[in-house]
């Protein structure tokens, strides 16, 4: 099999999939030249990620990467999330084939965008 058991498990049983009402931050990333898209919603409490939801459009690895990343980033500070690397997302699904690396890029990009949005809203409130 071309994909790891972890990836297939997340593909078949995605965790934290779906919409979130009144999120504290949202972010979208789309892979250029490819229709793959990930959208993340964050609930932030005391500066940390309390809840994550996602939607994706794309091939199986993108769905799995979004699901695995949603579990991995829970509890982190929003600032930490700003520097999330694609490699960490890839590690969360135990690796991606070369021609599917973009799944990690798009998921990491959307999570970073959501963190930036959350930070902006928080600063807006403070200001």
């Amino acid at each position: 099999m071309r994909y790891s058991p972890t990836l297939l498990d997340h593909f078949l049983n995605p965790r934290n999939a779906g919409l979130m009402r009144d999120p504290d931050g949202t972010g979208v990333d789309e892979y250029e030249g490819c229709g793959d898209l990930a959208r993340f919603f964050l609930r932030v409490r005391d500066g940390r990620v309390a809840e994550v939801r996602f939607q994706t459009y794309g091939c199986g690895p993108t769905i799995a990467a979004a699901s695995a990343a949603s579990e991995r980033v829970a509890g982190r500070t929003v600032e930490e999330l700003l520097s999330l690397k694609p490699q960490e997302v890839e590690d969360a699904v135990d690796g991606l084939p070369e021609d599917r690396k973009h799944a990690a890029d798009v998921v990491a990009g959307a999570l970073r965008a959501a963190a930036l949005d959350a930070l902006g809203r928080r600063q807006g409130e403070v200001g």
């Binding site: 994909y3 490819c34 959208r39 973009h102």
Partner: protein, 385 residues
């Protein structure tokens, strides 16, 4: 994984056991080169001759009108380039939904100074013979229209197009790789001058195919070397492949009719079962004028490769209408030419049935598809496609 269901027969088929048995001696005691004059060579030559006669009979052709090639791609290339270079200049007509073997050969001919018109198709993937007629020019030297498209299975009106070509003395090439051995037709009745056909789509081995060339068709060879295939295609014959191909064709002559009816019923059972359970699904291709075993279904708003992966994990082999390989995803050019909206085209899945497919297989696929599509739609943002 317990159950395995193969619904990708338009991609390739397993070699029929009777074909394997027929081939085996030609790997061993009958290994000779058919060009050799001694007994070893004559044994191999006899195998090739028998196969050629079987293929010719099936086509309604003469044995010397059949040239064996290495695959459908070579046959298509030989047909287009053979016509083109026998004439030196001129204009071709083909369609936008041809196999890449025809499309890219035609595109290459454009770089060599030939002109090509690519006619469109309607929403069912059907070429309009009137559009072919309107595309004709005084310098048209060839028409190439496929018999049925591998993705959607729509069967083209080749008899009407053949009449147009014959009235004007223009060579007519038909890529019949997906219909040869599945549909009954006679090259004379349809007015075909060149016909590509392949072995591994009809339970024969890979690496062997053929091109029918009507006697008197002006052609040049594109592969030079020895005197093989009446100097039309140089290279030592793939004897076991040819022998196997001949046997596969003979078996098709025996089984084709019954299988046509059986697969048509199973194909419709699949479509009826899925559309009864899954919302927002469409059939891509002609509702009736379609290959007996082909059902291309489009799921709105879902990415087809995800469905293929989901079905693969259930032991089911189907193929995706779009593929995201090197970081770019393109919907099928066939579906685009048909005008299928993007959000449907991206979710296209082809099911192609074959001789081993049973009603139980179809029911298993129908049951498996519904939860996969439902789950995928749950994670996919509405309208993202």
């Amino acid at each position: 994984m317990s159950r395995r269901v193969y619904l990708d027969h338009n991609a390739s088929t397993p070699v029929h056991p009777e074909v394997v048995a027929e081939m085996l001696p030609y790997f061993g005691e009958r290994f000779g080169n058919p060009s050799s004059v001694h007994g070893f060579g004559r044994e191999a030559r006899a195998g090739v001759d028998t196969a050629r006669e079987r293929v010719a009979r099936f086509l309604g052709a003469a044995p010397d009108e059949v040239v064996f090639t290495s695959g459908g791609t070579e046959s298509d290339n030989m047909a287009l380039k053979g016509i083109a270079f026998a004439r030196g200049r001129g204009h071709f007509i083909t369609s936008k939904i041809e196999h890449h073997a025809v499309l890219r050969a035609a595109q290459w001919l454009e770089t060599q100074g030939f002109a090509v018109t690519y006619v469109g198709v309607d929403g069912h993937g059907m070429v309009d013979p009137d559009e072919v007629e309107r595309a004709l020019r005084p310098d048209t030297i060839g028409i190439s229209i496929m018999h049925a498209n591998s993705e959607i299975g729509t069967i083209q009106p080749i008899a009407a197009i053949g009449r147009l070509a014959r009235e004007r003395g223009i060579p007519f090439h038909v890529d019949a790789v997906q219909t040869f051995g599945k549909l009954e037709f006679d090259v004379d009745a349809v007015g075909i001058d060149l016909l590509s056909f392949s072995s591994h789509k009809i339970y024969g081995p890979k690496g062997i195919a053929g091109l029918y060339i009507r006697k008197g068709t002006k052609m040049v060879s594109v592969q030079h070397g020895g005197e093989h295939e009446r100097r039309r295609r140089a290279g030592t014959e793939n004897v076991p492949g040819i022998v196997g191909f001949g046997k596969a064709v003979e078996i098709r002559g025996r089984d084709m009719k019954d299988e046509h009816a059986r697969l048509t019923a199973l194909r419709d059972r699949l479509w009826d079962g899925i559309r009864a359970r899954v919302p927002e699904v469409r059939l891509n291709g002609h509702p009736t004028e379609r290959l007996p075993g082909t059902a291309n279904l489009g799921y709105r708003g879902v990415e087809s490769e995800s469905i293929v992966l989901g079905l693969d994990l259930k032991g089911i082999g189907v193929s995706a209408g779009s593929a995201c390989t090197s970081g770019s995803v393109e919907p099928s050019y066939v579906l685009v030419a048909m005008g299928v909206p993007l959000e449907w085209a991206m979710g296209a899945v082809r099911h192609s049935l074959g001789r081993s497919t049973t009603a139980e297989d179809i029911d298993y696929v129908v049951e498996s598809v519904e939860p996969i599509v439902r789950k995928l739609r749950a994670v996919m943002p509405v309208g993202a496609a």
